[in-house]
């Protein structure tokens, strides 16, 4: 911690974001960046609003990898990015729903998260009361004699989250899938406003339960960046340990569930044994099966005991034994391969255009991994290989998960060997001087999670934006299912395993 040196520095006139500064741009600058996104010169990381400004985060081809810009829009409108770069479209629709800022020149003006049921329009800035009804929603038209529509959801057949899928099919073949999401919108943006850092951390941990560790880590890193908090080395290792355990548990769960959707239940039964053991070790080591609320700004709330470290090592050895068997079971079962190979194809061009992260991106040739690209601690000190494929189908998304399992096992071993002794949390408090901003990009099991926040001098969160990797994966699912049969949709959907809750906020 070096608050002392910060205090002597001149008070910044405009809150500056750490570790990546936020710059103000004018309309010309905003449009030039939108055009460069469309040309593929940089990648869109997120787009979010406030009462009278919009912010955009981008991945740059060279250092520093992240760039954040702001456009003031006192008139309540901004030039649309989605109009020229489609990946921004749903983010802009969400900005319009929540903050009332109009994207001018947007290609899609329909509401996205707002279904007309809140009793309010633009709840996060100048809310207007409305009669709470249900807005009609115009699905995109499909034309042709033999086409029929299949509406699915929001309540699905399995134990999964709610969302609506509208299939237009020609016989068995899907001609178009259109998603309608927003059913689990909980108003997280507004709940964050005015929350203490502790409460905000609890909310962040519940944006998407399967990624609770990754979200807590991303939130903590953004707070620590804003306040220049030095996290003790042991805490940094323990956090990475939890993040990798979460990744392992989710990947085994996914691999089993994908195979189960191809009617191969044996794989799911076996994978769930591995998943269950990981969760039990997590509960015994950290006191919670999903490790919820175990990471906090400044460090971790629990330490790893010697005997738990030994139990984790024994578990890693057992998983290392099981993994090749599961790989053989997957790869040698030809009836299963028949379902997964060539199904749900996503092209490399689309994965790059949407800057799609996680296994979906990596299975289609976009190898971005925040652990490598941003290189937050302790990953630069660890050796591991991230998976990659260019096949782009369901099969590739399973193989990439197997590759990531191997990488995580490697990482967990190194952490258990190298984790230094020492304190697990830094003593710190908001220094009550001026408003601060911080940002973080953290690799969850599903892909990179982006967090940007602004905290007032008294330690109250003024705005916190949390961007789930699903924002850039959901649209690709629509592309993946095209020309596949309706019956393969569960398989494709599971191979993506996008978060509804993380997306709907």
């Amino acid at each position: 911690m070096n608050f002392a040196s910060k205090q002597t520095a001149a008070r910044p006139s405009q809150p500056t974001c750490l570790p990546w500064p936020r710059e103000l741009v004018d309309e010309g600058g905003w449009l030039a960046l939108a055009a460069s996104l469309a040309k593929g010169e940089r990648e869109l990381l997120s787009l979010w609003g406030e009462s009278s400004s919009v912010h955009m985060a981008m991945l740059e081809p060279r250092e520093p990898r992240l760039r954040i810009v702001t456009l003031e829009c006192p008139e309540g409108a901004f030039p649309s990015v989605g109009g020229v770069h489609p990946p921004a479209s749903r983010l802009e629709r969400a900005i319009h729903d929540l903050y009332g800022l109009r994207p001018e020149g947007a290609s899609d003006a329909r509401r996205w998260l707002d279904h007309g049921r809140w009793g309010l329009r633009h709840p996060c800035s100048a809310p207007e009361k409305i009669e709470s009804t249900c807005d009609p929603y115009a699905f995109l038209p499909t034309e042709g004699e033999p086409l029929h529509q299949i509406p699915v959801g929001p309540v699905h057949a399995g134990i999964i989250e709610p969302g609506h899928f509208r299939f237009s099919a020609n016989g068995e073949t899907v001609v178009r899938l259109e998603e309608r999401l927003g059913f689990v919108h909980k108003g997280i943006d507004q709940l964050m406003c005015g929350a203490s850092i502790e409460r905000a951390a609890r909310i962040a941990a519940r944006v998407s339960g399967d990624s609770t560790v990754a979200y807590s880590l991303a939130f903590a890193q953004a707070v620590e960046a804003a306040f220049d908090v030095d996290v003790p080395p042991r805490a940094i290792y323990l956090r990475a340990l939890m993040a990798e355990l979460e990744r392992l548990a989710n990947h085994f769960g996914d691999i089993g569930a994908i195979c189960n959707d191809a009617a191969f239940a044996l794989m799911q039964a076996q994978c769930n044994l591995v998943r269950e053991r990981i969760l039990r070790e997590a509960a015994s080591a950290f006191g919670h099966r999903l490790m919820m609320d175990r990471i906090t700004p400044g460090g971790t709330t629990v330490d790893l005991k010697q005997e738990n470290a030994a139990a984790l090592l024994a578990m890693v050895e057992w998983i290392e034994l099981m993994t090749p068997r599961l790989i053989a079971l997957f790869g040698d079962t030809t009836s299963l391969q028949d379902r997964t190979v060539g199904t749900g194809f996503v092209s490399e061009a689309l994965a790059r255009q949407y800057a799609c992260g996680g296994y979906v991106g990596r299975a289609s040739g976009r190898t971005f991994d925040a652990r490598k690209a941003i290189g937050y601690a302790p990953y630069p000190r660890l050796t591991f290989e991230v998976g990659a494929s260019k096949e782009g189908d369901v099969d590739a998304r399973v193989w990439v998960r197997f590759d990531e399992v191997k990488a995580s096992l490697q990482i967990v071993r190194q952490i258990l060997d190298d984790a230094p002794e020492g304190p697990i949390i830094a003593a710190w408090a908001p220094p009550d001087d001026w408003t601060r901003e911080g940002a973080a990009l953290v690799e969850g099991f599903r892909g990179d999670i982006f967090v940007w926040l602004r905290i007032r001098a008294d330690g109250v969160v003024q705005r916190c934006h949390l961007r789930d990797p699903s924002w850039f994966q959901w649209p690709l699912l629509e592309a993946a299912i095209k020309d596949n049969i309706v019956a393969d949709f569960p398989l494709c959907n599971k191979s993506f395993n996008c978060s509804y809750s993380g997306h709907d906020l």
Binding site: P123, P154, F183, G187, D210, L273, R325, L329
Partner: protein, 171 residues
Amino acid sequence: MQKFLLQGLLRSALTERAPTPDTASMAELGYTLGRTARQKLGRSLSIREVDAGSCNGCELEIHALNNAYYDLERFGLRFVASPRHADVLLVTGPVTKNMREALERTYAATPDPKWVIAVGDCAFDGGVFCNSYACVGAVAKVVPVDLHIRGCPPDPTTLLKGLIAFVENME
């Protein structure tokens, strides 16, 4: 594949002994389950899970009930794909306003006699999401609830304790 199947035959079952039913749940249930309903349905119950806005943490633990360690089906409980086949709705989440009608319609589509079990702290009182413009809050504000299983999320053993208390009360 043969190796896995053979191993499955040779080793003893992984399924663990059932936990004793939760006493608090027993007390809550005392009033709710009618005798005639018990006679009609016996111990066999079909469950329809409805996510009414959860963060998906509860779903992960509900899923775990199907793994070899917990093996929910041995208690006569099974998950079904439609409310029309269900006796019990297992509802999670702080009931988002965008899901309210879907939950009401799912409840209406479930044939009588039917019960509702609210799972998780959000389903109990909205949890960390209470007082949001986008959430109704407790499941009980939307449909009548017979049993609450608390936790964020409740672990599979807690879920089992609640569910066993539920079937025990049906006999």
